[in-house]
């Protein structure tokens, strides 16, 4: 049968779908493009949601930010589901071998007691912050607009669940699977005075309504401070205290941060360069949440690292904000 087929007659009729062609021209499209652009429906919603009658099911007005085209938020990583899970599978394989190595060599037993206490009091409770981050990124997934940004928010939400689970596993490694370390860490999260402002901040983010504002509060402000304080400065302290082996267990978070920063910074730049109105709005939001977060992290940063730690972290945040062209 195939012998009869003349290759000249097998020229494609078209290279890609009409909406992709309108955006990128008549040429073969990438899988990211076909999986992302104009996938979400835009019009003719039948029934107003019983849970939010002020809006349509898909509605760009669930944030005050305005975009002429919500698909401007191209993900520089070009993650669609397939590339996302394959990238994370590689990271998880690496993490798995690190955790296995750590356990097999009994590295937990070689940790100084102070390091163990430091990790339980300051690192493990972060799993609850990650849980809030999971919910806040799901919020953007559910109520955001345009597949380009909502899918990236979903990947981030799932990443945060994954990180919460890795942090939990660190606890289990330290307590020999008795879950004592996890309970102890939860006790800090719930009752330790230095953690309470941060927990209150997390609870406050969970009752926010504007999804883009929430994205800035969580993924930009809180996460930048959190990452710098816990995975940069605390990490250095652990190394200094003979706890460098813990770094094997947080390598996933380091890699994740590098990857996610690329996306986060692209989104900031695109949103801010859209209009002066967006810039003003974002400036207000960032300054509001920077203020709240600085207060919330302060006692924890001092207790964990000393007086200068928060200043360093805030400088990191300000640098990032400036880089996006916001100040």
């Amino acid at each position: 049968m195939s012998i009869q087929i003349k290759t000249s007659t097998l020229e494609p009729v078209r290279n890609t779908f009409a909406h992709i062609e309108r955006r990128f021209g008549d040429k073969p499209a990438t899988r990211y493009q076909e999986a992302t652009y104009d996938v979400q429906a835009e019009t003719n919603f039948h029934y107003r949601p019983l849970w939010d009658p002020q809006h349509e099911l898909n509605d760009p007005n669930r944030t005050a930010l305005k975009m002429a085209d919500w698909y401007a938020f191209k993900d520089p990583r070009q993650f669609y589901y397939g590339t996302y899970v394959q990238q994370r599978a590689r990271m998880q394989e690496n993490a798995e071998s690190n955790y296995a190595f750590f356990e097999k060599r009994g590295l937990a037993e070689r940790l100084p007691a102070e390091v163990r206490d430091l990790v339980v009091r300051f690192l493990i409770p972060l799993r609850h912050l990650e849980q809030a981050a999971n919910l806040n990124n799901m919020y953007g997934t559910a109520y955001g607009y345009g597949t380009a940004i909502t899918q990236a928010l979903l990947y981030n939400a799932m990443d945060r669940l994954g990180i919460a689970q890795y942090l939990s596993r660190i606890g289990l490694i330290l307590d020999g699977n008795s879950s004592d370390a996890l309970q102890e860490a939860k006790g800090y999260w719930m009752n330790d005075a230095v953690w309470q402002p941060l927990r209150a901040l997390c609870e406050e983010t969970l009752v926010q309504k504007d999804w883009f504002e929430l994205f800035l509060a969580q993924d930009l402000v809180i996460d930048t401070l959190m990452f710098n304080l816990f995975y940069v400065q605390l990490d250095e302290k652990l190394v200094a205290d003979d706890g460098q082996d813990i770094a094997m267990l947080t390598e996933f978070m380091q890699e994740w941060n590098k990857d996610t920063s690329r996306w986060l910074e692209a989104v900031l730049k695109i949103a801010v360069s859209e209009s002066e109105e967006n810039k003003t709005l974002m400036t207000e939001w960032i300054s509001k949440w920077r203020g709240k977060a600085a207060e919330a992290f302060a006692p924890l940063a001092i207790e964990m690292l000393g007086e200068d730690a928060l200043t360093i972290a805030l400088a990191e945040l300000d640098k990032r904000v400036a880089k996006a062209g916001i100040k």
Binding site: A41, H46, Y47, L50, E114, T141
Partner: protein, 508 residues
């Protein structure tokens, strides 16, 4: 610094259940600084009573690391096959170019609903206060995104060689027959979070999707379409998890409070009915659009609903749940609906984004054999008439737009099941306006929530109000639906699809 080492302890072996519980369930906390109801504000308005989320049983205890690992493995396999399919011009191996129209209907009619499922599960994956159920919903949300994306990628190759795929994005929220699946998912997504899960997770995923996917994928296998078989079965491997979530949530709601039982029963009745109406499209596809046929719609209904569903409802009887209302009626409908639907599409073939055709003589005989009670008596004469008109050069297309059911939005094509020659009419007057329905099931649904269904975006009425371009149907098709008029629509005979196929195959 004190260099005391952490005391040695033998690590205790954790079971999957314990590990999952520690890694997932324990992440949540009791709020001290905000009212938890402000963070999870949607749990109460439907009247469902949740007394204790911790009673939620996770059926599959999948942590994210395992999720990434196994899903990446599935994706690697899937894309290897899609690449091979494209490189080897796999589209040439399908049984018959008519087959491709079935997957046009799939991409335009089903893939956008996968996206809506993704959105709906993201919504409840944020809203449920119970962490176990919430995370299961989040995983389903990302799985559903997977499904729409893999489907688009699988169809990408067909789009390069066949008409009717290229405008799926524009068509999804505009085209008249696509408002049937679209309104189904809009209905579920606009409902409260528990109704959504009963609608999609239980009624659709557990009770009905087998009828969508399994025969469809076997059909693709029978018709030489490796791309569709591959994405289909790969998606189904997630579906087993989704089905189980659907069943777990039903059991959970029923066990939480006895007041939930009548609410859940009402939702089961509603969504079973809406689901069977939606599956009319699948029935038609199985009986008419697959050139190599796997099984009839009637047989599929018997295996996948009557047998499997029967077992399920026997199991749920201990909670006081009964078979969905109108299940007995649907048993009669299985003899008719696929024929009534394909005739509707055939006679509206000028306004569909895929091709229609008269079944071949062999196919008519197959239908007679599969439907001995009804086909020759009620439906074969229609095709004899169509053949005669076609032979006279008068291929029949209707000249006006059909009346639609307010609820399911299908043209009023269904007959009384005890008199298959009589269209079924139901209507009601609400606040001075008259509303029409194809069935008691659709009328019941309206009556229960009239303020919801007065909003129905009925395509025929929208066209007649001038909201879809026009004034002529042809402009609606080209300017509003973005069809390539004359290529995407009309009969299979004489279509560009058919001409190209003949060229490829070296047939005159």
């Amino acid at each position: 610094m004190n260099k005391n080492k952490v005391t040695t302890m033998a690590a205790k072996k954790l079971s999957l259940k314990e590990k999952y519980s520690l890694l997932t369930r324990d992440l949540d906390w009791e709020f001290s600084y905000q009212d938890r109801k402000d963070a999870f504000p949607m749990e109460e308005f439907e009247g469902i009573k949740i007394t204790d989320w911790s009673k939620w049983e996770d059926p599959f205890r999948l942590t994210m690391d395992a999720y990434w690992k196994y899903q990446a493995e599935k994706e690697k396999k899937l894309y290897a096959i899609l690449d091979a399919f494209a490189q080897n011009n796999g589209h040439l191996n399908v049984s018959d170019p008519r087959y491709v129209n079935a997957i046009k209907l799939f991409l335009t009619g089903i893939s956008p609903q996968e996206y809506q499922a993704h959105q709906g599960f993201a919504h409840i994956g944020r809203q449920y206060g119970g962490v176990g159920a919430r995370i299961a919903c989040q995983m389903q949300s990302i799985d559903e995104l997977r499904h729409v994306q893999t489907q688009v990628h699988a169809m990408s190759q067909f789009n390069k060689y066949f008409d009717g795929f290229q405008s799926w994005s524009n068509m999804q929220d505009r085209v008249w027959y696509l408002s049937v699946p679209t309104s189904f998912f809009h209905d579920a997504r606009s409902a409260g979070p528990f109704e959504f899960l009963v609608a999609i997770g239980f009624s659709f995923e557990y009770v009905l999707t087998n009828l969508l996917f399994v025969p469809f994928m076997s059909g693709a296998a029978y018709n030489g379409d490796m791309a569709t078989v591959t994405f289909g079965f790969s998606a189904q491997s997630d579906e087993a998890r989704h089905m189980t979530l659907g069943l777990e949530v039903i059991k959970f709601l029923l066990e939480q409070h006895e007041d939930n039982v009548p609410i859940v029963q009402k939702w089961i009745d509603k969504w079973f009915w809406r689901g069977t109406r939606l599956l009319t499209l699948v029935g038609m596809m199985m009986d008419y659009m697959l050139p190599n046929k796997v099984m009839s719609w009637k047989e599929a209904w018997e295996v996948y609903f009557e047998e499997a569903g029967g077992a399920l409802f026997k199991d749920l009887a201990r909670y006081g749940i009964t078979m969905p209302k109108y299940a007995a009626l649907v048993e009669k409908e299985k003899e008719h609906i696929s024929h009534q639907a394909w005739w509707t599409f055939y006679t509206h073939g000028h306004a569909t984004g895929f091709h229609t055709w008269i079944p071949t003589d062999e196919e008519l005989d197959w239908l007679s054999e599969k439907y001995p009670e009804t086909f020759d008596k009620y439906y074969r004469p229609r095709w004899e008439m169509a053949k005669k008109l076609e032979a006279e050069g008068k291929r029949f297309y209707t000249k006006a737009l059909p009346q639609l059911c307010t609820t399911c939005q299908i043209p009023m094509l269904f007959t009384e099941m005890d008199d298959p020659t009589q269209i079924a009419y139901r209507d009601t007057v609400y606040n001075g306006d008259r509303y029409h329905f194809c069935s008691d099931g659709c009328k019941d649904i309206f009556h229960d929530e009239p303020e919801k269904y007065v909003q129905s975006w009925l395509p025929v009425h929208q066209i007649l109000q001038g909201n879809c371009g026009g004034p002529g149907v042809e402009q609606v098709l080209s300017d509003y639906y973005h069809f390539n008029v004359g290529a995407d629509n009309m009969d299979m005979k004489g279509s560009p699809d058919e001409k190209r196929w003949k060229q490829w195959k070296g047939v005159a």
